[in-house]
């Protein structure tokens, strides 16, 4: 088995999940310049809701086709996360729109703590396992294995990204979003309902996050109330890597971070002569992130903004 191709595939799969979560960070940041710390937790809630639905459906009739059950879970998780994000924005961020920039950051952290602990109360401290109901076919390309699930994750991610891209570039709402990101005041003068656009931004980001949450729990076979934290952190790093506020950047950053991590985990032992093991994969990811930012301070695809307006 070719380790390089294998790690590349694993990295791309993980990276496409990171990219989906990163999109939510980057869209909100592009419009509000807010690090929506609670976004990782929204992803976690998506996974948890889907798992609950799957559990109920399987409990009712265990012979339902697995794929259908998972899709049903996803279809419940998406609106649940959308509603959640709508509520979060309305309660915790909107009243602080004119406050100093770090104030909504703190409420975001607060919301994130609240969501984690609500999830802990509802779903418990234990890992919730994802039932093995999905088809488990395996294919071989270039000497490496790829599972049906991995293919599905990549395809679904690409479809979501394409959908988002169409939405932002081709629709009225997308144009309103881009206008709002450039200047809230001017957009408002042009007749854009800025509050509504911001709500939509959160809602769309949450829908994508729900998809990512279900995928990540299916991929690892489990979900946990704390899983959103690290996932969110990685995704945010990915968004920054690509240039925060830039949608294509978030996709690129996510994929890149996933690949770097996987390759790093695979090769770090050889690179350092066995001195550092694969548990340093996060160090590797962060180190690359820091290096990229040192040489390209506004991320890979970020625009070079004048340092102060």
């Amino acid at each position: 088995m070719d380790i390089f191709t294998q790690q590349l595939i694993n990295g791309l799969v993980l990276g496409s999940i990171y990219a989906l979560v990163a999109l939510g960070y980057t869209m909100v940041y592009g419009i509000l310049e807010l690090i929506n710390f609670a976004h990782g937790e929204v992803t976690m809630i998506g996974a948890m809701v889907a798992l609950s639905v799957i559990g109920v459906l399987l409990g009712a009739s265990p012979d339902l086709p697995g794929l259908m059950v998972v899709i049903a879970g996803l279809l419940v998780a998406i609106p649940a996360c959308m509603a959640l994000a709508f509520g979060i924005e309305k309660i915790a961020y909107r009243p602080l729109r004119k406050a100093p920039r770090l104030a909504p950051l703190i409420t975001a952290i607060g919301v994130s703590i609240i969501l984690q602990n609500v999830a802990m109360l509802v779903w418990g401290r234990q890992y919730v396992s994802f039932p093995a109901i999905l088809p488990r076919g395996q294919h071989e390309i270039l000497g490496a294995h790829i599972t049906d699930l991995q293919i599905a994750i990549v395809v679904l991610s690409l479809l979501s990204m394409a959908g988002l891209w169409l939405l932002v570039e081709k629709t009225r709402l997308g144009r309103a979003m881009r206008a709002t990101a450039q200047s809230k005041e001017v957009a408002e003068l042009m007749g854009v309902n800025v509050d509504r656009v911001i709500s939509y931004t959160f809602i769309i980001g949450a829908a994508i996050a729900a998809i990512a949450g279900v995928m990540v729990s299916a991929y690892y076979g489990l979900a946990h109330y704390y899983m959103g934290f690290m996932l969110g952190l990685k995704a945010f790093s990915a968004a920054v890597l690509g240039g925060i506020g830039n949608i294509a950047g978030a996709m690129l950053g996510g994929l890149l971070l996933g690949v770097i991590e996987a390759l790093g985990a695979g090769y770090i032992g050889d690179l350092t002569g066995g001195f550092l093991g694969s548990h340093y994969q996060d160090v590797f990811a962060f180190l690359v992130l820091i290096l990229v930012l040192v040489f390209r301070p506004s991320g890979l695809l970020g625009e070079r903004v004048a340092s102060r307006a």
Binding site: R101, L102, T107, G110, Q116, L287, S298, S307
Partner: protein, 353 residues
Amino acid sequence: MLAVLLAALPFLIGAGLGNSWVRVLDFVLLYVLLALGLNIVVGYAGLLDLGYIAFYALGAYLYAWLASPHFGLHLPFWMVLPLGAALAGVFGVLLGAPTLRLRGDYLAIVTLGFGEIIRIFMNNLNAPFNLTNGPQGMNLIDPVSIGGVSLGKSLEVAGITLPSTYLYYYLFLAATLLVIVVAMRLQHSRVGRAWAALREDEIAAAAMGINTRNVKLLAFAMGATFGGLAGGLFAAFQGFISPESFTLWESILVLCMIVLGGMGNIPGVILGAVLLTVIPEALRYIGDLQRATLGQVVVDPADLRMLLFGVALVAMMLFRPAGLLPSRQRKREFSAQDGVAEQEQASLYDTKA
């Protein structure tokens, strides 16, 4: 008056709430130290730092290396503490140097990455040679001893027994007062004014002849030094350290303290640190409250504690967006006419490009 109150505080709290609260009081002071240190970087210089706890970790680990059976070294605290502070300061510069060009949230993510890297190393450097003892952490760290009197044991003075937590309270109080004085003097010094200028408008600051590179590095170094000092004290007090004490959550918690209290304003920062340390402890009593009002424990208090902490964080911020005790300048800007306020806020304490 205040001095008497501060001196008597552990006795009042020990008598009123029990000795476990004196321990909480010690931690309050440690967090005040940390918050004041981070306040230099974030509040004074306007550089958003999400990896601050790494410096705390460095101070703590250096203390543990030089004063525990781990390497068989038992240097006295007055040597180790400054060394720890200095090491943290050096790392502050090391982190600051490559990030000078970064602004705002890019800086935040780099500092966050730095904090995680330090923690992961602490967590894994038990092989190939055992430097940090990995996730188990290091224990049996020497307590501080002053003039042959160990603060790790109770001390009897004039018929009154002072438990270890009381003794550490006075040590931490001394350190905190020192840091408060330094922080206050710094704020109004030439460097402090340079930081304020940098925070408000970097280009204008550079045009006024401020060497922005050196001034930024100095902010990182000063903040890190305080963090390292607090870390050393923490290691000595606790006698045990492990990477778990130095997670990203701790960095975020300290940041919450200063933002919630009122960034850049020393009394505000202290208030924030006190509140955010005491609230989670006070919330341990929810179990008793449930028994008293509902007759039984309905929800496990440990589960509810952090939830209510999050709610408190959101509520306090919504209620006082500029912080509980904002600095005078900030308050003025906040209550100014809408247009003016917005204009000023575009450059105020924000770290955006």
